[in-house]
């Protein structure tokens, strides 16, 4: 799965996610990626989220909208909302996952509960900053 989130100069947020699914999948199985509010979500003034991981668990936990809701109704920061979701119910259900997110102020946050996630953002000079492992 791949994904991206962005805030543009006009203050508009967007999220995109794309996937090939699971190796050896059958029966037209679909995960969280194309489900708005599960693997992908964006709302101006709030946040944009793209998720990756065990799709069935991410679907049941409606990950992206949960992060959004915690910020909208619980006044949590982007960092706290992402951390609490990724390391909360999902982990309890055995779901390995990661999210990339950006808030209305342009703050970027990555959360993962597994050993690695291919990820990247731009540093303060606009240069690519990439990471793979949870220890990066």
């Amino acid at each position: 799965t791949v994904g991206a989130v962005a805030l543009d100069a006009s203050g508009n947020l967007a999220a995109a996610t794309s996937t090939g699914g699971l190796t050896n999948k059958r029966y037209g199985r679909i995960g969280d990626t194309p489900i708005i509010g599960a693997g992908t979500y964006a709302r101006n003034g709030n946040c944009a989220v793209s998720a990756t991981g065990m799709g069935e668990v991410l679907l049941r936990c409606t990950v992206a909208s949960d992060i959004s809701g915690r910020m909208r109704y619980g006044n949590q920061s982007l960092k706290d909302a992402c951390h609490n979701v990724v390391n909360g119910e999902i982990k309890g259900l055995g779901g390995e996952c990661g999210v990339v997110a950006v808030d209305a102020e342009g703050q970027v946050h990555f959360s993962l509960n597994c050993p690695g996630m291919y990820r990247g953002t731009l540093d303060t000079h606009g240069e690519p900053l990439v990471a793979i492992y949870d220890t990066d």
């Binding site: 799965t1 791949v2 994904g3 991206a4 962005a6 805030l7 543009d8 006009s10 508009n12 947020l13 967007a14 995109a16 996610t17 794309s18 996937t19 090939g20 699914g21 699971l22 190796t23 050896n24 999948k25 059958r26 037209g28 995960g31 990626t33 194309p34 708005i36 992908t40 709302r43 101006n44 944009a48 793209s50 990756t52 991981g53 799709g55 390995e96 996952c97 990661g98 999210v99 990339v100 342009g106 703050q107 970027v108 946050h109 990555f110 993962l112 597994c114 050993p115 690695g116 996630m117 291919y118 990820r119 990247g120 953002t121 731009l122 606009g126 690519p128 990439v130 793979i132 492992y133």
Partner: protein, 177 residues
């Protein structure tokens, strides 16, 4: 407020440093940087966040390293079946698709569904009909998506009856979705 911001991911899971070959790790790092630059160039030129996230995702869909687009994993029937979604925070418009097999860049089709239809999500054959008949997409043969690496992964998964990458013997691909 920052002028603009961008973040990407290329999948998560059990990616083990001690099993990752240096050249493969470098390839991933370069591919991630390329995707970031694709999105950054749009944002720097005053483009929209929607265009930026689509450009970043297209860059990764075109790279066989990632499980999306060209590098999609294979189903039990040795086909690719891809899903994608995009959402615009400005107006809460969204476009999504699932189970497409002949679309080179599913994220572009997701944007076309968002902007060129009155629907949010289209599936399988219907999504492809919309793509070819109304959105100008070109039919892409399954051969485009086939790589030896993904075929070997499928054989590995079939040998143990698995439908996920969690127990894969491939060091960079013990990840999910």
């Amino acid at each position: 407020m920052a002028q603009f911001s961008l973040a990407i991911h290329g999948g998560a899971g059990t990616i083990e440093k001690h099993r990752m070959k240096a050249d493969l790790e470098q390839a991933y790092r370069h591919a991630l940087a390329d995707a970031l630059l694709a999105g950054k160039n749009i944002l720097m030129a005053g483009g929209s966040s929607v265009d930026a996230v689509v450009a970043a995702v297209v860059s990764m869909e075109d790279n066989p390293l990632f499980n999306a687009g060209r590098g999609s994993v294979l189903t039990h029937d040795e086909m690719v079946e891809m899903d994608a979604a995009v959402m615009n925070g400005k107006d809460l418009n969204a476009g999504a698709l699932c189970g497409v097999r002949h679309i080179k860049n599913p994220i572009v089709l997701a944007r076309d569904i968002m902007t060129g239809s009155s629907h949010v999500m289209l599936s399988g054959d219907g999504a492809e009909k919309f793509a070819f008949n109304e959105a100008g997409h070109v039919y892409t043969e399954q051969d485009y998506f086939f790589t030896e690496r993904r075929y070997d992964q499928l054989l590995d998964a079939k040998s143990t009856g698995r439908a996920a990458l969690s127990e894969s013997t491939f060091p960079d691909d013990k990840k999910h979705g």
